[in-house]
Symmetry: C2
């Protein structure tokens, strides 16, 4: 219902309705108690699930609350229930195309369960000491840690404070904590087999930051599969997980003595920079150089980019995070703040930036092209 | 400092240190009061800026708080100060590349002032009735409305509730409210002059959703400048502000009887879809068709895309939003929840998707190319 500019209609004579100056103060449980002629604790009980209150009292309180447009404040409520219905999301790389749809899905799925997301942009530094302090002051019910890095003591501090945590896309050093990651080892290995089958000979890896598990594990799977097949281990070029450092690193790789003909990138965000460097160097993608990403972000499908990549489905990742976190939060902070380590399966999506092997390519129901090692291989 | 897994060190005999089960309950002001041997209100005064408390009492309270690792809870604090230090951001299009850097900057700038962002993903529908209810229940101090659409009564309801609001990128029907928008009229007009000077003859506009001021105003500026120069008014193709509808709309435009040779798009997000449609139709950009966007999102600079666009600087936008909102919040909800309507100036950035006029092109200090109407024109 649209309200008139000068305050709620229909209660012009009430405490909250005397023009805008008054209306600017939200009505409190005191106001409701006074109008209903009951105690403040009776008002509080009316708005607390499962609390006992006489039917007549409830009726008077609800009528007064409606007149005053009173909404029980979650801050007040959280002092009673010790639940704020707020979940913190600590995240570094909102500039990575992978994260906006993840954040959107997290927000929607948590929203359905009554939770809202409080956003903490971190810089991924190892010293995020102020983070826990702030989380506790805001009284959040849980933490999703999609931060690139965090203080080594943070997880133990969260345990000590009884704050449930789910790590996302970076299992970090917290092997004992709940986490949701992509199928990094498997994905890296499949990319290696795909590039080998495509006849490539000089392999390279465009890495993120050493110590971040997503980048480390993808390299591990890639390297192990290359070496197992008798190929040389890949050259590794480090980046700071951003576009500019990836561009510089790829330029250096392509100008080097041992120019690679196959480049697997720790994620699509880095791969797009690699495409730019390849283009600048005048290389034909899929002929002179094959580039494969990891994530399958929305724009990798654009025909201007058409990136071959290992898909890490953002919805499935977000849904698993919400499921794990809710399970921990609903356990009420009792017991160890631990949980399952979940790996979300992915799939290789063939587009135009990598040469396709003669055998093993298949078409999915959605029209996308995939690849699997031929049975005889 | 890293804490041992089984609870904070150094207070093994205290209330909060008896193993994990106990540590899971955060210490309260009651616990601190008990340990310090003072009243709970003395504890509260110690953690309230400007409140009076005896030096000896303060010392005992702070020592007890340190022993127990007590952090004053913002929920409790907000009942006293009526400030939660939380600002809500209602936003629809996190999939639009323009917004992630804006959200990042908002978070950083608000963070410096001690505020955190609570995220509300909206669907841009006109009925967002639950929004205000939730905002009030969470006790947020302010609202940034970057939602595509919202209930017509929402702004009046916020006024009535004394909740400061700043509209971002959509001045909507709230002409009396604080807003920060790009220089839409000016930008649209400059794009028209640029395309006219480039010798284009058949103009089109790829619109967002009618009623959203950013799209409407950019069209208004574009159309007025075309008509003023004696050109025909542009064909207008509507979208739902998403990639797929923009792709379909551009395909239809390009297949139509009156194929445009100049297409101005309500934002870059739509322009990328237009580039795909042009590519599919086999058109050479800058020759057969010129495409101009609005925003200058990060990826518009990628050589694979190289989009000519009118820049709407996200940092300046975000900073203006924070400045306006803080001014309103610090006025304490007194007086009307209104404020300045601010327009952030932009600039035309020439890249490869639009034909350049013979005269008027200039190079900026950062190496980017711009255009201004030649003095004689």
């Amino acid at each position: 219902m649209a309200l008139a500019k000068n305050g709620p209609p229909g209660n012009a004579g009430s405490m909250a309705g005397q023009g805008k100056k008054q209306a600017a103060r939200a009505p409190t449980s005191h106001d409701v108690a006074r109008l209903a002629g009951v105690s403040r604790s009776a008002v509080s009980r009316c708005f607390t699930e499962g609390a006992s209150v006489a039917p007549e009292t409830r009726e008077r309180v609800l009528a007064a609350a409606q007149t005053l447009r009173y909404r029980p404040n979650l801050a007040a409520r959280s002092l009673i229930t010790r639940r704020s219905m707020v979940v913190a999301l600590a995240i570094t790389h909102l500039d990575n195309q992978y994260y906006p749809p993840v954040v959107q899905r997290l927000s929607e799925q948590l929203g359905e369960a009554g939770y809202r997301l409080l956003l903490y942009m971190t810089h991924g530094e190892a010293s995020e000491e102020p983070l826990l302090d702030e989380l506790l002051r805001h009284g959040v019910d849980g933490l999703i840690l999609a931060s690139r890095g965090f203080a080594p003591g943070l997880l133990a501090q969260c345990d000590a404070a009884g704050l449930p945590v789910v790590l996302m896309n970076n299992a970090g050093p917290g092997a004992a904590h709940a986490s949701v990651t992509g199928d990094n080892l498997q994905g890296g290995a499949l990319v290696a087999q795909f590039l080998l089958a495509g006849g490539h000979r000089r392999f390279a890896y465009l890495a993120g930051i050493a110590g971040v598990s997503s980048s480390d594990e993808r390299l591990e799977g890639y390297r192990a599969a290359l070496v197992a097949a008798g190929a040389a281990a890949p050259q590794v070029a480090d980046t700071r997980f951003d576009y500019d450092s990836a561009l510089a690193a790829t330029r250096a790789l392509l100008a080097g003595a041992e120019r690679p003909d196959a480049l697997f990138c720790a994620n699509d965000h880095l791969a797009f920079a690699a495409l730019q460097a390849a283009r600048e160097a005048g290389l034909v993608l899929g002929q002179d150089l094959s580039v494969v990403g990891f994530d399958n972000v929305t724009i990798s499908n654009w025909p201007h980019l058409a990136l071959t990549t290992y898909a890490q489905p953002p919805r499935a990742m977000a849904d698993a995070v919400v499921e794990s976190l809710r399970a921990l939060m609903e356990a009420g902070g009792e017991g160890p703040a631990q949980g399952e380590q979940r790996r979300i399966p992915g799939a290789l999506i063939l587009r135009d930036t990598a040469r396709r092997p003669a055998r093993g390519v298949f078409v999915r129901a959605d029209g996308s092209h995939g690849w699997a090692p031929p049975a005889s291989a």
